[in-house]
Chain length 138, copies 2
């Protein structure tokens, strides 16, 4: 699952949970509603649980529910929850002979540039909450 797919799938699941703030939904129910595999979804939601975004209840009559208000869950932390790498991580080719430090310096240049781009993206995502998305897609 690509990073961007994970993010959008997680948002769909959270929006689904937002409809029933007081009761749980099982992974099967959510998966069915948003059209993804239940097993895959469980691993996504379990990551979000570790971030404190959702609450999980195991066992009979268990399932998932939101652990916070929709306005207090932003895209940046969802992304960090479901993806171990940083947002939109980019890599440079580092298989360069050590003595060629021109190429090495270009690697450093791109590392810096990509970090800067990542920061821009993260700032953008911090300002978008689940509530924002629910409002816009209502």
């Amino acid at each position: 699952m690509s990073a961007s797919t994970k993010l959008s799938t997680a948002v769909k699941a959270l929006s689904c949970l937002a409809k029933t703030p007081d009761s749980v939904q099982t992974s099967a129910e959510i998966a069915d509603a948003i059209g993804v595999n239940a097993s895959k979804l469980r691993s996504l939601l379990s990551a979000l649980a570790k971030q404190g975004i959702v609450k999980t209840i195991k066992g009979k009559d268990g399932g998932f529910k939101l652990n916070r208000k929709c306005s207090e869950i932003d895209l940046q932390e969802i992304y960090c929850g479901v993806e171990d790498r940083r947002a939109f991580h980019l890599d440079v080719h580092t298989g360069i002979p050590a003595e060629n430090n021109g190429a090495q310096k270009i690697n450093f240049f791109f590392n810096d540039l990509f970090l800067e781009i990542q920061a821009d993206i993260e700032n953008k995502m911090k300002n978008i909450t689940i509530q924002t998305i629910i409002n816009k897609t209502a």
Copy 2:
């Protein structure tokens, strides 16, 4: 080759060519200098040639040289040259049952968001030329 690796590899090759603006270098020479496979490099440079960024001379004593001043080659067009998809393209999961248009609307939301991010990145890259990078890594 990932998109970001292509970009940095292309920049390394162009910087290499910038050292000898008046004579050609073969793919083997450049590949050796920057530590990549010559065949892979040729396909990268051939894409840049189609963009008018480098000039190729085929046959005996042939090779590659820059077709423009370093200050007139920016990262955005290098990226477009070596990658068929748009810069840092992001995809959303679209395997959703058609009747569920909540999920569909979230897909649209993310498509818009990702397009916006792409535009930000492209603007950033347009302002960086090979000359900029040579200056910073000299």
